[in-house]
Symmetry: C2
Subunit: 307 residues, 2 copies
Amino acid sequence: MNTHLIGLDWGSTHLRAYRYDSQGQVLDKRALPHGIRQLPEGGFGAAFALAVEAWPDVPVIACGMVGSRNGWREVPYLDTPTDVDRLADALTAMTTPDGRTLHLVPGLRDPSRPDVMRGEETQVVGVAALLPDVARHGCLLLPGTHSKWVSLRDGVVTGFATVMTGELFGLLKEHSILGAQLPPAIDDEHAFLCGVDAARDSGAAGALSRVFSARTLMLDGSLPPASVPDYLSGLLIGDELRIALASGWATPHDSIHMVGEGPLCDRYVRAAARFDLTLRAAPDATTSHGLWRIAVAAGLVSTQATA
Amino acid sequence: MNTHLIGLDWGSTHLRAYRYDSQGQVLDKRALPHGIRQLPEGGFGAAFALAVEAWPDVPVIACGMVGSRNGWREVPYLDTPTDVDRLADALTAMTTPDGRTLHLVPGLRDPSRPDVMRGEETQVVGVAALLPDVARHGCLLLPGTHSKWVSLRDGVVTGFATVMTGELFGLLKEHSILGAQLPPAIDDEHAFLCGVDAARDSGAAGALSRVFSARTLMLDGSLPPASVPDYLSGLLIGDELRIALASGWATPHDSIHMVGEGPLCDRYVRAAARFDLTLRAAPDATTSHGLWRIAVAAGLVSTQATA
């Protein structure tokens, strides 16, 4: 089967490669440990060569931190509001050491805050293509180290915001007095939901006004030391949801789609229920689909069937 | 001159000793590096012996982490509301290896949150004795790693709350992406006030919804990398003030007294002005005065002049 495009999802800690047919179906995929912080000897060029090795010389499109200041080539952010066509117009082309042409997707910048993303814009394009209702008028949540809340109207990304929930959880657990001298963590759903409720009930003060309770509840004997991480997780995820409502990024009866899967997304679903919010799982494979959609909009591939 | 009392301010990282005359005047003071985390060989007994060495065998009173779970002897917290007499009634006496009697001041617990303090209760007693108006109806701020906001009515500590401002600043600066790869910090008052204003203007969402801006403003070129720490400092101190107002710990026309001095307190004063709040410096030497007042209330010393 003919290869019409290669896509790379190239972040800080991962490099995933996709080989597409003429209809955008992924024929083959590879996962390499060469995120931009973990490059092999030979650097970006060597990692790239491994990712596309033995695949035909077709256009290559890449998103993620590869286009950041610490990446292979810095690609300026594109300001919101923007849609897939503006993203496609803003690709930066470069020639790789092995003579291929690599097109880098720009990250997005919301100038009103300001806020930035790099890599997630491609996931958003993928979801928007797969879920027309969300693209028309929706809110997307991409949970993680730096969670993103994205607003869409009529196919346009109108704005977005970052909450550092995952990173803050790690800091508090690994480096703060709240996480000091704890026994190995156990799963404690009750503690998790207590944390969520503490964030919700903190109102306009917010969870930073309550975070010390992770220690005082433990000293009090009402929170087992091994459950402190789940309490903190609930407090911070709950605060992210509280912030989203207080900021108008989401409203209680919105149908919010969440990109991702696994235990972290399950936590968000359970926390959202305490706010009368419903989070729905978006289809997976959003990045590979987004890369394809941007490449098509840029005219890198023909969507006509080829012989 | 006769010695009537010895007082110890014994925290995690410091040990200060005071020798008092019959009127509560400090005749002599010592500072030792032997906080409970930095004990000399011989442990608590050896540190104690150094602190009181060659001083007369009079009652000794101590406050701070020496009475915590990791201290010399754990002293249970006393619940608010409480006043100096209840604190004095709750002293725990122990005999030291050199045969002296040591009275440990309990920490306080606000059961409504719950929240705890250990050491600050003695500072509060000292300020309340020196500032009768504040004791009658006031709000005290003790800024630091774990800032405390304390409410006083008719001489009674009615409640308090902790905000981990100082610790969170350290975590973000030392361990987060926001502080990564920054040049040596410079003093930047403009950046500090921008951070304060960002927290103030975050409204009910709070500064956690804006903290990523420390990175995006830098990437944008509008915040010099060396000024990121001052911006973060402003954002977190500003958020503490925002929280205090949102929680009703303070109201805009309150006269709030702040215990402490130096650059950190100066930052709070400048940040408070952006909220139309006035922070006044409380008299210093509050801990030594508080120890004296609790000892007097406990009957450990006579305030009669002696021959």
